[in-house]
Assembly symmetry: C2
Homo-oligomer: 383 residues x 2
């Protein structure tokens, strides 16, 4: 929808979530081109954007395949014409039943699991709903979270349990979550190759045992951008690549010029004797995410930029309370605190786009470098 009145970054009330759609489009095109070159389907993860308008930028020719992190997302995107989706969180009994209601409505939703119990629960939910469920077996490629080890006994066991429960095996799915902790091209390339190799090996084990395993799904934003070859992989999942953020910048996947998301804030006070500038964006607007704290450069709660998105040298949000952010010059820097009067506006680049986005109801869309708010795009939330 259009904004309620003619607004620009200069007049927008703060705090507010700003999305530079020029950068969004560039980021979308970058990974789409990369996957087209590799001949691998891209299944964008909607957990970051949670917005039909952002999805429409990724799929200008109409709905395509998507990944979702909640069934509320699945239902929301189904309501906007998306029919091919993977719910990439281990399925619970409740969510199995709810996903089957989507299948009853003609939505091709695939779920994720890594236990025999889930296979049985899902089969039962399918029978109760009169539909055939489809599930990915989750593979653990790097010890990050859930999933089965490719060499363990459970892989074939879960496949057999799916078969016994009347569930279609969609394929194998893995996520190189540990790639977020890396920061050199060599390590990222190796993580991508490991993710690929483990997923393909899992598929081969299943196929050798007689199971059709049509899809080999991998993905994380770092590995999607650093994979040199994707032989045997059929699809790539990634989400935060649409917006990027300071964590991804610290990993080395993007530059700060690629960051599409920022939080607009207003100066509400100063403590010159302490070297502090107070703004009206605290953790409620920025999120509590401190993902850069473990990286080589700790960005506090974010990098502070002018209204055109140019960082003030070494100015970061060092502290955040609920509705207050404290801007300081980064420790060790000789830069001077900029002279920002009460009422001045800044844009803050966040650590983690998924977390910061979730604190807001809507995107205020600019096509940078223009400052005019071209649109307001609502975000969905909940489970």
């Amino acid at each position: 929808m259009p904004p309620s009145d003619a607004t620009t970054l200069d007049t927008l009330e703060t705090p507010a979530l700003v999305l530079d759609a020029s950068r969004l489009d560039r980021n979308l095109a970058r990974l789409a081109a990369r996957m087209a070159e590799q001949g691998v389907a891209l299944r964008p993860h909607m957990k970051t954007a949670k917005s039909i308008d952002v999805a429409s930028r990724a799929f200008p020719n109409g709905p395509g395949p998507i990944t979702v992190s909640t069934l509320a997302e699945a239902e929301y995107f189904a309501g906007h014409g998306y029919r091919d989706m993977t719910y990439a969180v281990g399925v619970s009994p409740h969510m199995a039943a709810r996903a089957m209601r989507l299948r009853q409505a003609g939505i091709d939703i695939k779920v994720l699991l890594d236990t025999r119990e889930q296979a049985a629960i899902l089969g039962e939910a399918g029978r109760a709903a009169g539909v055939t469920p489809s599930a990915f077996i989750e593979i653990d490629c790097d010890g990050h979270r859930g999933g089965l080890l490719v060499t363990g006994p459970n892989l074939l066991g879960v496949a057999a349990a799916l078969d016994a429960a009347g569930v279609t095996l969609a394929g194998v799915l893995t996520h190189a979550g540990e790639s977020y902790a890396l920061h050199t091209p060599e390590a990222l390339e190796a993580a991508a190759e490991n993710e690929r190799a483990v997923a393909v090996e899992a598929a081969q084990r299943l196929r050798a045992a007689g199971y059709e395993c049509p899809v080999v799904s991998v993905g994380s934003t770092p590995t999607a951008h650093f994979a040199k070859a994707l032989d045997g992989v059929t699809e790539m999942r990634a989400g935060v690549y649409m917006f990027f953020d300071l964590v991804m910048h610290g990993v080395g996947v993007c530059t700060t010029d690629d960051l599409a998301l920022s939080v607009l804030a207003t100066v509400i006070g100063k403590r010159p004797e302490k070297g502090w500038i107070m703004v009206d964006a605290g953790w409620m607007a920025l999120s509590r995410d401190r993902g850069t704290a473990a990286q080589r450069v700790d960005q506090g709660y974010g990098i502070v930029c002018d209204l055109d998105g140019r960082p003030y040298p070494d100015l970061i949000v060092a502290h955040a309370s609920q509705e207050h952010g404290t801007l300081v010059i980064r420790s060790g820097s000789s830069q001077a605190l900029p002279d920002l009067p009460v009422g001045a506006k800044v844009r803050i680049m966040p650590n983690h786009a998924c977390a910061t986005g979730a604190q807001h109801e809507r995107y205020h869309v600019v096509f940078g470098p223009a400052r005019a708010i071209a649109a307001e795009w609502p975000r969905m939330r909940g489970w």
Copy 2:
């Protein structure tokens, strides 16, 4: 409103925010009784609950004085009959104009400031709206955030600027934010006495200079509960005391039996070889707040309890991704991982009630120890 159908904690979909209204009522009564004894008015901060239904438990006889952290809260509570409110975040030009629209509508909203610039901006906003603004001068009692030093030259300067701008001086306001970092009764009592003494001294300086300074407003949940005397103070502000949380438990203000808020979650996987249980509550449901990380006992992303709210010994949420939480036995403990099958439900006590609550659309209300969902109370959000 009543829940959509007859639901209990056993059948509620997860993740979900659960509020034990028995504990809420007990926490509300505890501080109300304490302030009544001291003869000090209580002005609860609605930034934690953001709910008219919770406010109604605090004010069973009709709307009373409240504190708000956003003008969206002010407008929401004004729409529900609340007329006496303090907006306790330094006022920006936009928010000055918006607050004046509330005064035009007959709402007695007081704002907060600590600069001459804000005084001039507020005066101008009042004149433009045809109303007389009312403002507190923010006092810094412990170096935590904004505010003026009681001994500095700016206190009388800002008072003079308010006078010149045609703004009513409501009084002085301070917040002992550093009390969150304490954990002994002696230190907390000293912080409360310091907060009181600084606020009263500021009021006395203003009165000695000829300014009427009717209200002396102090408050933080720790100091509200540890103040031994409040001579000269006229009102107390506190918010998180309604729910309490693990940070407040670490400070020593409450026991875990006082925690009214929890997140209901379902087991979605296990990694016995790693000592992990996976649940469907990640940081989207729990928030990214790691407030206990700096305390003596780090609770991870929360303490894991059974459906009746009894903690499993030493079981915490050690890691959280967007929609996954990883339960582990606390490092150094000899406890065994409980046998929780896929589909089992747990309740997670959060680090920070303000941050965790903000991740949710509504409270599912129980009157513990009953498991029935007695009501659903919506939360408001935004700015």
